[in-house]
């Protein structure tokens, strides 16, 4: 009996979405996230060649070698992934841009580019693999580490953290979520929803560093996150190609977030009321979580008010990288007209 290979909606096996072997430490949260990226892209049925993998420098930024081996990618320089993605997006708006960054890459050296990519509403998924330490340089604190958190070696951190979700929401980002690398179901749903969003989608994923900060005093360790985090809601992603009448209706309350490509993110009410449309409520919830030394996870904020960076340009329908010479260079006749105007 031959083995049945499961295919996605565009008839591709999951193996079309995998990458090379990881060289990260065994147990690294980042590898779990790579697995989720593979799963989400496969289940959403995105043609691998249509995806562009973008990254900066750091442990997280190495991971594009470990997923989507059939997609082009660019492992750029430290903290500069957003600008390279912007340039690429301007000349080829039809690709799905999947950016992978870390807390060092995005919250310190790259914070300016992070902010401005959000301000422009660059059409991309921006994943922050957030462990609170610089792994490649052997465990220095990063700017997202919580006050009072302590890595395996050295003194506790005394400085307040930069909360990338809070920052993104303040800047008007249309899709902001927080998850945990170990929460596979939640993260996969949020990842798929981010891929279905038109515009900047930021997912901050707490991703424990098993080598330098997985001790219980570290707020981003497996042990801490498992006991000290709270889900804002249950999340379930419903594909646009999936008939709605085949989807089970939850027993409790729920809310459907309509996404750009027709898919739906179903938010199921758990213990608390949470309004994902209200940015001030999100900021307040994040602030309270910080005071309580807890993590809140789920879809923090969603809005679709802003045009994307490429829509804002009023470009021709054809991606600019595919324009033919007659579109790229004024004609000789037009040139002579212009010269005549100058010479008059």
């Amino acid at each position: 009996m031959s083995k049945v290979i499961k295919l996605n909606v565009i008839d591709r096996p999951k193996s079309d979405y995998t990458g090379g072997p990881s060289s990260l430490c065994p147990g690294c949260g980042h590898d779990q996230i790579s697995g989720v990226i593979i799963q989400a892209c496969w289940e959403n049925g995105i043609e691998p060649s249509r995806i562009a993998k973008m990254s900066g420098i750091g442990c997280s930024s190495k991971t594009p070698a470990y997923f989507l081996g059939q997609s082009h990618g660019f492992n750029t320089v430290h903290g500069r992934m957003p600008s390279v993605t912007t340039g690429a997006n301007m000349v080829n708006k039809d690709l799905v841009y999947l950016g992978v960054s870390g807390d060092g890459d995005s919250a310190s050296i790259g914070i300016g580019q992070f902010i401005h990519a959000i301000r422009r509403n660059l059409n991309m998924v921006y994943i922050i693999e957030n462990n609170g330490v610089y792994g490649l340089t052997k465990g220095q604190y990063s700017a997202t580490v919580e006050k009072g958190s302590k890595k395996r070696k050295g003194a506790p951190n005394e400085q307040p953290p930069i909360d990338m979700c809070k920052l993104a929401i303040n800047l008007g980002c249309g899709f902001v979520a927080r998850s945990f690398s170990g929460a596979k179901k939640q993260l996969t749903s949020l990842m798929k929803a981010a891929l279905s969003h038109n515009g900047m989608a930021v997912i901050d994923v707490i991703s424990p560093c098993v080598t330098f900060a997985n001790n219980d005093e570290s707020y981003k360790s497996y042990g801490y996150v498992k006991t000290q985090s709270e889900e804002l809601h249950g999340v379930d992603y419903i594909h646009h190609f999936q008939p709605m009448n085949e989807v089970d209706i939850p027993e409790g309350g729920f809310e459907d977030v309509e996404l750009f490509d027709g898919s739906v993110l179903r938010l199921e009410t758990l213990s608390m009321e949470y309004d994902y449309t209200d940015p001030t409520a999100a900021i307040a919830a994040l602030h309270k979580a910080e005071v309580d030394k807890k993590h809140i996870t789920g879809l923090l904020h969603h809005n679709t008010d802003m045009p994307t960076a490429d829509e804002d340009q009023g470009l021709v329908d054809t991606p600019l990288c595919d324009l033919s010479e007659d579109m790229l260079r004024p004609s000789k006749e037009r040139h002579e007209e212009i010269m005549a105007i100058f010479q008059a």
């Binding site: 500069r80 301007m90 000349v91 300016g112 990288c321 790229l328 010479q343």
Partner: protein
């Protein structure tokens, strides 16, 4: 407006009545020459870039280059929009020069024609990305409209002080193609050619102008329409093209000219992860000593081969080959006056204007033919002289002498001719 006009009138009246000054200069109106017009180098380069098919302009305002970007923004709707008013070139005002350079790389990586324009301080900031473009072989165009350095320097004055910076920007062994226009016509021509060179050689190409050429108006009789079709370089766009190449690899020197073939994101052909880390001929991460050394030597070969394809020098040569002057860029506007002053002493002067680095082979031949060669430039250290010393065969080096002077002002012929005569006198003694 009315108040201003009255002030002019009042001023003139006061000068007429009160000033008795024996001025040696007089101002006369000149008749406009039929078919000519005034234009500055930045607008000319802007028009050239539009003819070169720029599809992504990123920029961060800086004197004296802002008007180049604004020139592109001004002319795009008239020259490049479709009939329906849709744009064929994205324009992004970046948050800083680092981001502007990153966008150029992103555009080039994705198969577009990306450019930015800046001045020396911007090039310093962009240097990290410039090295990435060199190493990962990503095409792009950056214009440097030189102002006076170092540091913030004299931001509204002119200099040719960035040549060294452009030639070798970024850490490690790097080198870059630099196009050096000397006239507004060349600003236009190099504006479009820069993109062809960038895609042909899969590297960054600099346009190197300066404040004097870029922001002052110069007489122009029109721009020649590009005499060559757009060159997109070695891009594989179909499976058939890919199949025709035996043992394809992104960084494999298939043709022996140092320039590999590339594929574009979205094509599904040979998807690789571009990287600034060491890589083998297939683009896979490598720290193998042989792989690294071979890659660096191929990059060197690629740029060496490029030199004969770049704009050659403009040579005005005497039959008596006493003195040759090698110069570049906006010095073009003063060279004849300098030449005339020196020729008053009885010496015959030939001129050779460098228009690109790496240096064209004709420059070496020019030096060989002349007894003495002066390298003339608007900076303190003789940067073009340094490039020549590095790139010329060692036996020719003693023939060249440096005359470098910079005070922020456009060149005044007498200062440079006096310095040249001094150097020639020293050499004769």
């Amino acid at each position: 407006m009315e108040v201003n006009l009255r002030a002019i009138e009042e001023g003139r009246k006061m000068a007429e009545e009160n000033i008795t000054w024996d001025c040696p200069h007089a101002v006369e109106a000149r008749h406009k020459k039929e078919g000519t017009f005034l234009i500055d180098g930045n607008e000319a380069a802007a028009l050239g870039s539009i003819y070169g098919g720029v599809t992504m302009l990123s920029w961060y305002p800086i004197t004296p280059s802002s008007s180049l970007a604004e020139g592109i923004i001004h002319w795009l709707p008239q020259l490049r929009d479709t009939e329906d008013g849709e744009s064929t070139c994205a324009v992004v005002q970046a948050e800083d020069e680092l981001a502007a350079a990153g966008m150029v790389l992103g555009a080039g990586w994705a198969g577009g024609r990306g450019m930015t324009c800046t001045s020396g301080p911007g090039i310093s900031l962009m240097s990290e990305f410039i090295g990435l473009a060199y190493f990962a072989e990503v095409p792009g165009v950056i214009w440097d409209v030189n102002r006076v350095g170092p540091s913030t320097g004299l931001p509204t004055r002119t200099q040719q002080g960035d040549l060294n910076l452009l030639r070798e920007a970024s850490h490690g062994d790097t080198e870059h193609i630099v196009l050096i226009p000397g006239t507004v016509e060349e600003c236009f021509e190099f504006g479009w050619r820069a993109f062809d060179y960038a895609e042909r050689f899969q590297t960054l190409v600099f346009g190197f102008s300066d404040l004097d050429l870029g922001m002052n108006n110069w007489v122009c009789s029109g721009f020649d329409y590009p005499d060559e079709p757009i060159d997109r370089g070695k891009v594989l766009r179909s499976a058939e093209q890919m199949a025709a190449i035996e043992n394809y690899g992104r960084y494999r020197d298939v043709d022996g000219d140092g320039v590999p073939y590339r594929t574009l994101p979205g094509s599904g052909l040979d998807p690789i992860l571009y990287r600034g880390t060491g890589h083998d001929e297939d683009g896979i991460y490598s720290e193998d000593p042989e792989v690294y050394q071979k890659l660096m030597m191929r990059l060197k070969k690629k740029l060496f081969n490029a030199r004969k394809h770049l704009p050659g020098p403009v040579i005005r040569e005497e039959t008596e080959q006493d003195v040759g002057i090698i110069y570049m860029g906006s010095m073009e506007n003063s060279i004849q006056e300098i030449d005339d002053i020196i020729e008053e002493t009885g010496l015959k002067v030939s001129q050779c204007r460098v228009r690109a680095v790496p240096l064209h082979p004709d420059i070496e031949a020019f030096i060989e033919r002349h007894n003495r060669v002066i390298v003339l430039e608007i900076n303190r250290d003789g940067q073009l002289y340094g490039v020549l010393r590095k790139e010329l065969p060692i036996n020719l080096v003693p023939k060249i002498s440096s005359v470098a002077y910079s005070d922020g002002m456009p060149p005044r012929a007498r200062i440079y001719s006096d310095l040249i005569l001094e150097v020639l006198k020293e050499g004769a003694e």
